[in-house]
């Protein structure tokens, strides 16, 4: 290598690294959790939840110390004073769309006042049968007798107007249906505040202006909440926060913590391994390769996708660790070139290019994953590996002197004795086949787990707070959401009415809906037509009957003039605006949302109406049937689980098969001998079998991370086979086996460290890959040479 070429190389490396660095610095890192979800449908569902503000809801329970033996009244006053102060603090921040902690004044009597005038539009055909019963002689008599007692009771003064407007208590027919307005929380409403049954906690619900799935924003909201808690709550009142916020914070913190601690530890251990394994300070140039390749990979990936997800970045960098393998093999080949540098470069070119080809092939396959984060990781790894191969060829030859290092022969850390292996060929192959068979058996026992919570950080304090919330507010079961969508509010309400009527028919489904008090206008018209038809027929005879019975029961019939005036004068439809101007406003606001979008066609908007459903019972069918209807979406783990499981099954089968086919094809074309192809693939098979066996004994469940692991392990372990088989032709088996061993040890260190990650997804990835590589390494070193036959084994004549 002359000076000129060294200068060119240095300039080229510097240029590439600087350019990569510039791109990486300008790249945008996103924290959106949606990138982790597979398929457009699931992400679309979550987007709907975001639009409804459900993802951005924070539930805060303010509880007074259990040890304090205060009177109910004092406890309540202390809690309400604190919650008012807390609300004041949050209002001033301007970061919250809604702060709900109290129902407006007059909520107790508002239902009758708001709903009664609109009864003709709200009562359906079934309700009219009940009205018909009330207008019979018996019905009138019973109702008026009850009214007489009521008017003379202690509550008489308060209900007088109500009795004169609705003597038959027709409003109660509607009020009975209002059980569907009740939330799944069990609480008392005292002076408008949401009080727990034990009287020691108040509930506060806040909705943020921006998305809480964004890590940076979640941190800001946490700071605002902490400040508000400090300022407004006395020491004996404890706040507990649940919702998206603590999960986002836990995930962000754990990933940051893991990356901050694990990458330095892995780098340190890897340096130690290379120093010990290669016995030279030049090993640092090998270690540098992935770090030099990473900025360009990050920058280009961010350029392609517009941004790069935090998790994709973390995992992608780990995947880039694979890139060190090429540098190790090149380093070893050149260091032990026996003075024939050109020959050594020629010999190592084929396995390096082949390994790079197989590895990049599996990552190309991963580009077809339905998980956006997987696609980003694949792109990052793909660019990084190609960059690493290029940088290895540019840097390693510069740092290794062209003359073979004689001292290196004695300094090799590893020694192998293969001569005895061949005599145990049959038992070794048999043992290996049994192992692979075990893997196949276990593979069939694995289940696909679509529960997205498997990817979440299972923080103990979050689980404790959620348990406390469920206990305090006696929330049972698991919630799902049926979202009715429409370009107009009328269309959305139309869909919501369909949801309500379907759920009403299934008495075992518990749900919360605005359906009973807000049908669509077209349905209100239908109700009104039926009401008019009924009264046209009944009106005259009813009035006569009513007057007679009223007199008998001690009433002046004309005292009920407000009731008859109401029957004769048509009121108007009940519109959302009317409800929004009533004390029911917080409830309506939480159930109906107008969403404005700024698209290429200018500003458009659509409406969403929410129904919450308890999905714990065995009533999946009607919910899934509703989900099939146009404009209605079921958003629940129940549906996602099956969707994600289907997508996972599809991805694991198609992508793994595609990767396997590609690798088999490449190896078959390259080696053209069954024994060589099997030897190349042996580490892959061992790795997959060991991962299947490990997963089987760990609970037999596969989640989305396993797809990534499978692909990655295929990509890594096939390289071991390639280097071992190629070395046979080049009489460089010992160097290759050493190279494979150092590469495998470096991967084991990388993923072994990852196994200790706090984040479950990272830890799961690390553990399972550790097991896979742990099996691929010995297979490459001891089984692949045995499969190749006696000629393949390094013998005493092989020169290093």
């Amino acid at each position: 290598m002359n000076n000129l070429s060294t200068t060119y190389r240095i300039l080229l490396v510097t240029g590439l690294v600087l350019l990569g660095g510039l791109l990486a610095v300008s790249s945008h890192i996103s924290d959106s959790a949606l990138d982790l979800l597979p398929g457009k449908a699931v992400r679309g569902d979550l987007k709907l939840l975001q639009e409804l503000g459900l993802v951005d809801r924070i539930f805060i329970t303010l509880s007074i110390d259990d040890q304090l033996d205060t009177k109910d009244e004092d406890t309540f006053e202390k809690l309400t004073a604190s919650i008012e102060k807390f609300k004041g603090q949050l209002s001033d921040t301007g970061e919250f769309k809604t702060l709900l902690y109290k129902l407006p004044h007059g909520y107790e009597t508002s239902l009758f006042t708001v709903l009664q005038p609109h009864l003709p539009y709200l009562l359906d055909q079934e309700d009219l049968s009940a009205v018909q019963h009330l207008t019979t002689e018996d019905g009138i008599r019973k109702a008026l007798r009850h009214d007489f007692s009521l008017l003379n009771s202690l509550a008489g003064i308060a209900v007088k107007r109500q009795v004169s407007q609705d003597p038959l208590a027709m409003t109660t027919i509607l009020l009975k249906k209002l059980k569907h307005l009740k939330s799944s929380f069990n609480m008392d409403v005292r002076d408008g505040y949401f009080l727990s049954k034990d009287g020691r906690s108040l509930l506060f619900i806040a909705v943020t202006e921006k998305s809480l799935t964004n890590g940076g924003y979640a941190v800001r909201i946490k700071q605002l909440l902490d400040r508000a808690f400090r300022v407004s709550l006395p020491s004996d009142i404890t706040p507990k926060v649940i919702g998206t916020l603590p999960h986002t914070l836990a995930n962000v913190n754990s990933i940051r913590h893991d990356l901050r601690t694990l990458i330095p530890i892995a780098t340190l251990l890897l340096s130690a391994l290379l120093l010990l394994g290669l016995r030279s300070l030049k090993a640092f140039f090998v270690l540098m390769i992935p770090f030099l390749a990473a900025p360009a990979a990050i920058g280009i990936t961010s350029l392609i996708y517009g941004q790069i997800g935090g998790l994709a970045l973390g995992f992608g960098i780990v995947l880039l660790g694979i890139a060190v393998d090429f540098a190790i093999h090149l380093y070893l080949a050149l260091r032990f070139d026996n003075g024939m540098r050109y020959e050594a470069l020629r010999k190592i070119r084929k396995p390096i290019l082949l390994a790079a080809l197989t590895t990049t092939s599996v990552f190309v396959v991963l580009l077809f994953s339905q998980v956006p984060s997987h696609r980003q990781m694949a792109t990052l790894a793909l660019i990084g590996i190609l960059m690493a191969v290029l940088l290895s060829y540019l840097i390693i030859p510069m740092v290794i002197p062209s003359k073979a290092d004689e001292r290196a022969k004695s300094s090799l850390f590893f020694t192998f004795n293969f001569s005895s292996l061949q005599s145990y060929r049959i038992p070794i192959i048999l043992f290996w086949l049994i192992f692979i068979f075990g893997g196949v058996i276990c593979w069939n026992g694995l289940r696909y787990k679509g529960d997205l919570r498997a990817l979440d950080v299972s923080d103990h304090s979050i689980m404790e707070d959620e348990k406390y919330f469920r206990q305090t507010w006696e929330q049972q079961g698991e919630q799902g959401f049926l979202i009715s969508k429409g370009r107009t509010l009328e269309e959305a309400l139309e869909n919501n009415s369909l949801v309500y009527s379907t759920l009403k028919k299934n008495s075992n489904i518990s749900f919360q809906s605005i359906g009973p008090i807000l049908p669509s206008i077209s349905i209100q018209k239908e109700h009104f037509t039926a009401w008019q038809k009924f009264w046209q027929k009944e009106r005259r005879s009813f009035e006569k009957r009513f007057a007679e019975i009223a007199n008998q029961q001690g009433f002046v019939a004309k005292g009920f003039a407000p009731f008859f005036n109401w029957l004769d004068n048509n009121t108007s439809f009940l519109t959302p605006e009317k409800l929004l101007n009533s004390p029911l406003q917080p409830f309506v606001n939480s159930m109906i949302k107008r969403v404005d979008n700024n698209g290429s066609n200018g500003q458009t908007s659509h409406y969403l109406v929410l129904t919450t459903v308890d999905i714990t019972g065995g009533h999946k069918k009607p919910l899934l049937q509703l989900d099939q209807k146009q404009g209605i979406t079921l958003v629940s783990n129940l549906k996602w689980r099956s969707q994600v499981e289907n997508m996972l099954r599809h991805d694991i089968l198609t992508l793994s098969l595609s990767a396997a086919c590609l690798i088999i094809l490449i190896t078959a074309i390259t080696f053209r001998q069954i024994s060589k192809v099997v030897a190349v693939l042996a580490p892959v098979l061992s790795a997959l079998a060991s991962m299947a066996i490990f997963s089987y004994f760990r609970g037999a469940e596969l989640n989305m991370m396993h797809l990534l692991m499978g692909i990655m392990v295929i990509g890594l372990s096939v390289d071991y086979g390639i280097f071992v088989v190629c070395s046979r032709n080049n009489n460089t088996s010992k160097v290759s086996l050493i190279g494979v061993s150092i590469c495998a040890a470096s991967s084991l260190i990388g993923f072994g460290v990852l196994a200790f990650a706090y984040h479950p997804a990272l830890s799961s990835l690390g553990t399972t890959v550790l097991v896979g590589i742990g099996a691929a390494w010995p297979t490459a070193v001891w089984i692949a040479p045995v499969i190749l036959g006696p000629d393949s084994l390094p013998d005493a004549t092989e020169k290093l």
Binding site: H105, G106, Y107, E108, T109, R145, F148, S149, L151, N152, S153, L154, A155, G156, I157, A158, K160, R161, V163, S164, D188, V189, R190, L195, G199, G554, F555, V556, G559, F560
Partner: protein
Amino acid sequence: MKHNYHFLFFIVGLLTPLFLPTQSMCTDSSQSLKAFLEEVERNASQVESFACSFTQKRHLSLFPEPVVFRGNLKLIRPDRLRWAFTSPIPSVLIFNGQEGIRCSEDQDPAHFDLKTDPIMRIVAEQILSWLNSDYEKLKKQYSIRLADSSSLHITPREQTTAGFIGSITITFEEKSQQPKRVLINEPNGDSTIIEFFNYHFNISFPPSTFTACQPSE
């Protein structure tokens, strides 16, 4: 403008003497009210329980003539009350702490929780405040003035309550300082008069008084 200011001062000057006696009268009145309420509260504090009979006369536009209900009430301070109508339609309403029961001849006992039944909670708070003579609490919701030496005239401060109560006049028994007559005037001209009599103080009741609901009793 200057001229106008002078005019204003002149008017204020003219009116000032008129204000002074009124202010003095108000002070006297509030002192008398305070003394009166203290006396009522002091007497009430000596009574832990009582029973009495009552007659309720409702003048409602819905009724052709006043409707008279008779009954009795039993109270253990601060929060146990049995309010029973004995004629013409027997019915019972019980408040026992945070729990309540109501029943009538044609209605089985219905239990309710004052925490979750806002209407009954308001009724219980109001009636118990009156019967417990808790005027400090009532002053927050009503303006109270002395109507004469043995009567209080009360008007609601809150608009919601004012929607169905115009004013309340309570006349007290001279000796026991317990309510003798309560007149409730409603905004539309309807009214209710409840007269309490036959008081028995500091007596004990069987435990079932506040747990068993039998209207025919």
